[in-house]
Amino acid sequence: MSKSSSEQTRKIFAHVALVLLSVMFVLPLLWMLSTALKPTPETMTSPPRWIPSQFLWGNFAKAVAYGSKELGYIPFLVYARNTIIITILSVGGAVLSNSIVAYSFARIKWPGRDLFFGVTLATMMVPFPVTMVPTFALFKWLGWVGTFKPLWVPAFFASAFSIFLLRQFYRTIPMELSEAAKIDGCSEFRIFTDIIAPLSRPALMVVALFTFMGSWNDFLGPLIYLVDQQTFTLSLGLQAYQSQHGGTEWNLLMAASCLVIAPVIIVFFLAQKVFIQGIATSGLK
C-alpha cells in the first residue's frame, strides 16, 4: 500500500517536472511564431503579448519579398530553390553511396575490411576545420567554387556515420538469405538490390533524413563556397537578412526564421518514428 502511494507521488512529480521542462523547451519556438505574426509595434511591448492583436499572415509574404526592390527578384524563394536542389542531390547521393558501401562492410568478406572499418569510424573524430582549407583549394582548382557542386558531390562518396548506421542494420539480416539467393545463382549486386535494400528501407530512410537535415542546416559549407547572392541557401540568406535587417523588424526576421525551420519540422513529423529510432541506434557501439 505504502509502496504504491510512493510510486504515485513519484509519477506525479515526474509529470509536473516533464510538463514544466517541455514548456521551457518549446516556449522559444512558440515565441518565434507569435512574434512572426505580430504588427511591428507589438513586438516591443512590455510585458510581451503572447497572442497578437491581429494575426498578420502577410508578414511571411513580406519577409519573403524582402530585397525584391534592390535585387529585382524574391531572394527567399530563390534561396529555397537553391537549398532544395542541394538537399535533393545530397540525399540521393548519400543513399546510393552509403547503401552499397555499408553492404560491402556488413555482408561481403574482403581482406582488410574490418581494419578499414575501424579506421572509418575513427575518421568521425576529424574536425571539419582541419580538412577545410585543402578541400577548398581542391574545389577551387576544379573551378567549382561559386557553384553548388562542393556542397553535394561529396555526398556521393559516402560518409563514416551513415556507413556505420547502415552496417548495424544490415548485420541484423540473416546471412542465410544471401546464401540461399547465391545458390539460386543471384549475383551479389542482385542480392543487394532485390533482397537487402528493400528489407532495409527504414535504415535507408534514417540516412536520407540525417542527410536532409545536415544539408538543409549547413551553414559553414555554403558560407565558404557560395559567392553570388543568387546562389545562397536559406541558412546563408537568413544570416545575411539578420545582419542587414536584425534588431529592427523582429517580426519579419522571425517570420523568415519560421520559414527556414518549417520544412525540417514537417519532415520530422512525417517520419518521427524512423527518425527517433535512427538516433537511438547511432548511440550503440
Binding site: 515526474a14 509529470h15 517536472a17 516533464l18 517541455s22 523547451f25 522559444p28 519556438l29 513586438t43 516591443m44 512590455s46 553511396s97 552499397i100 558501401v101 560491402s104 561481403i108 568478406k109 574482403w110 581482406p111 575490411r113 578499414f116 572509418t120 575518421t123 573524430m125 576529424v126 574536425p127 571539419f128 576545420p129 582541419v130 580538412t131 577545410m132 582549407v133 585543402p134 583549394a137 561529396p154 562518396f157 559516402a158 556507413i163 543487394f192 551553414f219 559553414l220 541558412s235 537568413l238 539578420q242 545582419s243 523582429w250 522571425m254 523568415a256 526564421s257 527556414v260 525551420i261 525540417v264 519540422i265 520530422f268 527517433i276 538516433i279 537511438a280 541506434t281 547511432s282 548511440g283
Partner: protein, 291 residues
C-alpha cells in the same frame, strides 16, 4: 574469403575508398604540409618551416579564441550531459504521454543553427526579449546577457542545453536496454529510487554517456554558426570569438591559409588529446557488458 568475394567487396566499397582518399586522407596530409607554408588562394604555397606554429604560439588572439572555446566546452558539455540524462531518466519513468514529451524535448535540435542564433538573439534581447521579461516578472534584474563578456559566453552555454534532445534520445534508448531483473534484484536488497539510479542505471548506461560526452566535446570544440550569427566579430570584447571563428577568418578573410592549416592541426591534436583524456578517465567507471 574467396577471390571473387574480395573483388566484389572492394568494388562495392569503392565510393567510400575514393571519398576516404579524396576528402579525408588528402586534405589531412595537405593541411599538414600547408601548415609549413605561406599560402593563399592568390599565392602558391611557399615553404616557411615552423614559422606558422611559432607565430601561433605567440598570437594573443589564438590564445583568446582557444581559451573561449575550452571554457565553452567545459560549460556546455557537462551541463547538457546532465540535463540530457535527467530528461531521459524522467521520460523513462513510464509516464503517460512519454512520446509527446520526447517530441517536445527533441524539436529544438531540428532548428538550423542560423535560425537558432537568430531566435535566441531575440529571446535574450535586452529590451524586449522573452527571458528578461521573465526576470522582470519576479523582480530580479537580469544580467546583460549579450553585452557583458562573461554573460555572453554563458548565453551560448545556456543555449546548448536547448539542443540536448539528440543525446537525450540516445540515453533513453540506453535506459530502455537496462535489464529489468537488475532493478528487481536491487529492490530486493531494499534500494530506493536514488540508490537504484546511482548503482544500477548510471553504470549500465556508462558506455552511452562516454559516447555522448566524446561526441559533445568534438562538436563543441568546433562551435561556429551560432556565435557567428548572434555575436558578429566575437563581440563583446572578443569574448565569443571561438577557435573556428578565428580559423575561418584566417583562411577566408585574411587569406592566410597556411596559418589556418596550422590552426587546424592544432585543433586536431587538441581534439585527440581531450578524447584520449575522456577515455582514460572513464576507464574505471565505464561498465561494458561482456557478451
Amino acid at each position: 574469403m574467396s577471390k571473387r568475394d574480395s573483388r566484389v567487396g572492394i568494388l562495392f566499397a569503392t565510393p567510400w575508398i575514393l571519398g576516404f582518399l579524396i576528402f579525408l586522407t588528402y586534405p589531412l596530409v595537405a593541411s599538414l604540409l600547408y601548415s609549413f607554408t605561406n599560402f593563399s588562394i592568390l599565392r602558391p604555397p611557399k615553404l616557411i618551416g615552423l614559422q606558422n606554429y611559432n607565430e601561433l604560439f605567440h598570437d594573443e588572439v589564438f590564445y583568446k579564441s582557444l581559451g573561449n572555446t575550452l571554457l565553452y566546452v567545459a560549460g556546455a558539455v557537462p551541463l547538457s550531459t546532465v540535463v540530457a540524462i535527467a530528461l531521459a531518466l524522467l521520460l523513462n519513468t513510464k509516464v503517460k504521454g512519454m512520446s509527446i514529451y520526447r517530441t517536445m524535448f527533441f524539436l529544438p535540435t531540428l532548428v538550423p543553427m542560423v535560425a537558432l542564433g537568430t531566435l535566441f538573439s531575440w529571446v535574450f534581447n535586452g529590451d524586449f526579449g522573452l527571458l528578461n521579461e521573465a526576470f522582470h516578472k519576479v523582480h530580479v534584474t537580469p544580467p546583460n546577457w549579450m553585452g557583458d563578456p562573461t554573460w555572453a559566453k554563458w548565453t551560448l552555454i545556456l543555449i546548448s542545453i536547448w539542443g540536448c534532445g539528440q543525446a537525450m534520445v540516445i540515453y533513453l534508448a540506453g535506459l530502455q536496454d537496462v535489464p529489468v531483473s537488475l532493478y528487481e534484484a536491487a529492490e530486493l536488497d531494499g534500494a530506493k529510487v536514488w540508490a537504484k539510479t546511482i548503482n544500477v542505471t548510471l553504470p549500465m548506461i556508462s558506455p552511452v554517456i562516454l559516447f555522448n560526452v566524446v561526441m559533445g566535446i568534438i562538436g563543441s570544440l568546433q562551435i561556429f554558426a551560432v556565435p557567428y550569427v548572434m555575436f558578429p566579430g566575437g563581440a563583446p570584447a572578443r569574448s565569443t570569438y571561438f577557435y573556428s571563428s578565428y580559423l575561418y577568418d584566417n583562411a577566408f578573410q585574411y587569406q592566410r591559409m597556411g596559418y589556418a592549416s596550422a590552426m587546424g592541426w592544432v585543433l586536431f591534436i587538441i581534439t585527440l588529446a581531450l578524447t584520449l583524456i575522456a577515455l582514460k578517465l572513464s576507464e574505471k567507471h565505464v561498465h561494458y557488458e561482456s557478451s
